[in-house]
Amino acid sequence: MELCNCIEPPWPADELLMKYQYISDFFIALAYFSIPLELIYFVKKSAVFPYRWVLVQFGAFIVLCGATHLINLWTFTMHTRTVAVVMTTSKILTAVVSCATALMLVHIIPDLLSVKTRELFLKNKAAELDREMGLIRTQEETGRHVRMLTHEIRSTLDRHTILKTTLVELGRTLGLEECALWMPTRSGLELQLSYTLRHQNPVGYTVPIQLPVINQVFNTSRAVKISPNTPVARLRPAGKYMPGEVVAVRVPLLHLSNFQIHDWPELSTKRYALMVLMLPSDSARQWHVHELELVEVVADQVAVALSHAAILEESMRARDLLMEQNVALDLARREAETAVRARNDFLAVMNHEMRTPMHAIIALSSLLQETELMPEQRLMVETILKSSNLLATLINDVLDLSRLEDGSLQLEIGTFSLHLLFREALNLIKPIASVKKLYVTLSLSPDLSEYAVGDEKRLMQILLNVVGNAVKFTKEGGISICAFVAKSESLRDPRAPDFFPIPSDNHFFLRVEVKDTGAGINPQDIPNIFMKFVQSQPLATKNSGGSGLGLAICKRFVNLMEGHIWIESEGAGRGSTAVFIVKLGIPGRLNGSKLPFVPKGPGNQVKPNFSGLKVVVMDDNSVGRMVTKGLLVHLGCDVSAFASGEECIRAVSHEHKVVFLDVSMPGVDSFEIAVRIHEKFSKRHDRPIIVALTANTDRTTKDNCLRVGMKGVVLKPVSVDRMRSVLSDLLEHGYLVETQ
């Protein structure tokens, strides 16, 4: 609404004031009307404004104020009553609304203010979160870098690759200008520049290890900022710019032995390498904490990777060494085998070759001794005989020993009489002892059984050797031999700590002690006695004629018999006692032994069972036939007896195990019968064993019998015991042992 502002001159001065009031009121009204419009417009625009009701109130208040001022315009001149009323109404309304608004604002303004505060608070929070996000992101990136680095480092087991990769990756991740690794030298006194990032082949700079800066770095596991001027950091040629910050960290060089499962070996490692990292010189970059952490982690990982590489190198080296050793051992073994084979061949040949002439010499010399000789000749022959006997013994000893050594000697087990053995030994030694005027006593304990099972010949050898030595080294007094059954306590001799004999039901341990009053032995010499080729008393051996092998062989035999032998002596001049313990079997208790067991004693107490054994007897003499049949029936056999060969041949079947053929029948060719019986059975194991019964045992009969395939010859008349042993023999071996 445009008002003309032309000023009329005829207006009075107070009309001027009125005019100004008029104009101001007009403008106020205008403003009052436009403000709500603006408010409405902007409120409409923004959707989130929460106090609409307030605005409406405010708007109403403003509009009414405006209306009031507008109506005021009409009151300057004469106005009607209506205008006055309207004016009053609008004023009242305005008063009401403005008071209401004022009241309302009291509530609202604090709210509005607090909104502002909240906004500020949220902004701060957002800023903080942003910061933290930044941190986490950096950490995550660091982690990623570490993982990647580790992966790169650990993807190889080659030491050089590991180190090179470390430097390369670190350089890339952290954007380094230079990265170097200083390794300790072998002497441990210097650090040598081993790897750098930029130079391909670093020249071997060395730096003494005792520098303070190096010690500082080595004393902590953290990455340490060092001055770029230290010798370790002078890696780049001095440039125009300020060198970037340098950080150094220690890299533990772990050894295999340092690995403990539960804690990281911080204290036990002594050797460190030094890793130096340099930031680019022309940047203003600083080392950040997370970068330092990254460096520390990488350094640790490198240590682990290096030790893995070291372990691998070690194991490869060990494996190569082992292979070499294997080859060498194999060669040595083959050589040894060849040597043993050569020796065995030699022995096998020499055994025969040496013994044959020896026997010839001995035999012929003995024969010569029997002829008429002059005294000087007799003396000569005797010397020859003695020497060759000695030589023969020596040869036997050596050959025996070598057979014993390679374990090819086997004991010849048999039943023999112990009492007889000791008496024989006594008889052999008595003449020599009596010449030297020495007494010899023998005492056999009553609980020693008469018979035993073992190697009689070798036992005799042991006994003779021990007793012979006793006599040899005794000048006066005598020797006493005691033999008894060793009980468990006496078996565990303190002198023989590694001898653990285990008595059993089938065996017993024979303990023989031979005490002499002779020269005695120095306790220091005792261990040497049983060693071969060692003579214990060089003075006495002038006449001993021993090879030094005797006791060594005895020891071997005793060991074979699962026993032990030792000598006790209190010293020179106090005599000595030789003790040996051997394991012998109890006769009659060894059932099921597969060894050729030929009992020389008067039969076993055990009755072998032949019950049901089918046998055939052929004898044309009725009495003889009856007696033989009765004999076999008494032993439990199932006997079929025949008088004629034809009947016999017809009746023999594969069920019959033995056929007894009388070959002393005149006019009957028993041999032909034997042949025909053999022919009757095509399969070998069906054939019965054919044994000849005869009254005469001349060589021709025996030969004939064996020629036709008979397995034995038995002399008639046969006793029960004899028949029993014949049957056992036949069943065990398939032939009669003594006939062969």
Partner: protein
């Protein structure tokens, strides 16, 4: 008691037979073969021996009484007798047979006849002894006792 007495006289008789050489160890073996499963073994064998020997001796008599002595037949028979007697343990009969055999080889008819007589004599002696022994055994058994056995034979 009677059984004891009988057993004692049996033992004495047997021992005397051994001592005098009529019987040897083989007879002892035969006695050992006699047991519950074979109670009459000795009697059976002895009877068989008597039969056999009688037959052979008769044969030999006939053969030797011929003009032309068939030495082959003698050669066939004498070993039989020898075998039987040795099987039973009749020592003296066996020894006589051995002598007989030697002369037979020499084909000395007179000597053979003399030997035959010898053999016959020995045979009759041992037969008598054995029969007495068997009678004693039967008496022991009838009296309810067991026949004792000599353990050692020299």
């Amino acid at each position: 008691m009677e059984v004891d007495q009988l057993q004692r006289s049996f033992l004495e008789y047997t021992t005397s037979l051994f001592r005098e050489g009529f019987l040897d160890g083989q007879f002892g073996q035969l006695q050992m073969l006699q047991d519950e499963s074979n109670p009459d073994f000795v009697v059976e064998v002895v009877s068989l021996f008597f039969e056999d020997s009688q037959r052979i001796l008769n044969d030999l008599s006939i053969t030797l009484n011929q003009q032309n002595v068939d030495y082959k037949k003698i050669d066939a028979n004498v070993p039989q007798l020898k075998g039987s007697s040795s099987s039973i343990g009749a020592q003296r009969v066996r020894n006589a047979c051995i002598a007989f055999r030697n002369f037979c080889e020499e084909q000395n008819a007179d000597a053979c006849r003399r030997c035959l007589q010898q053999v016959k004599q020995e045979y009759l002696l041992v037969k008598e002894k054995l029969e007495a022994l068997i009678r004693l055994e039967q008496q022991i058994v009838a009296a309810g006792g067991a026949i004792p056995m000599l353990n050692e034979f020299s």
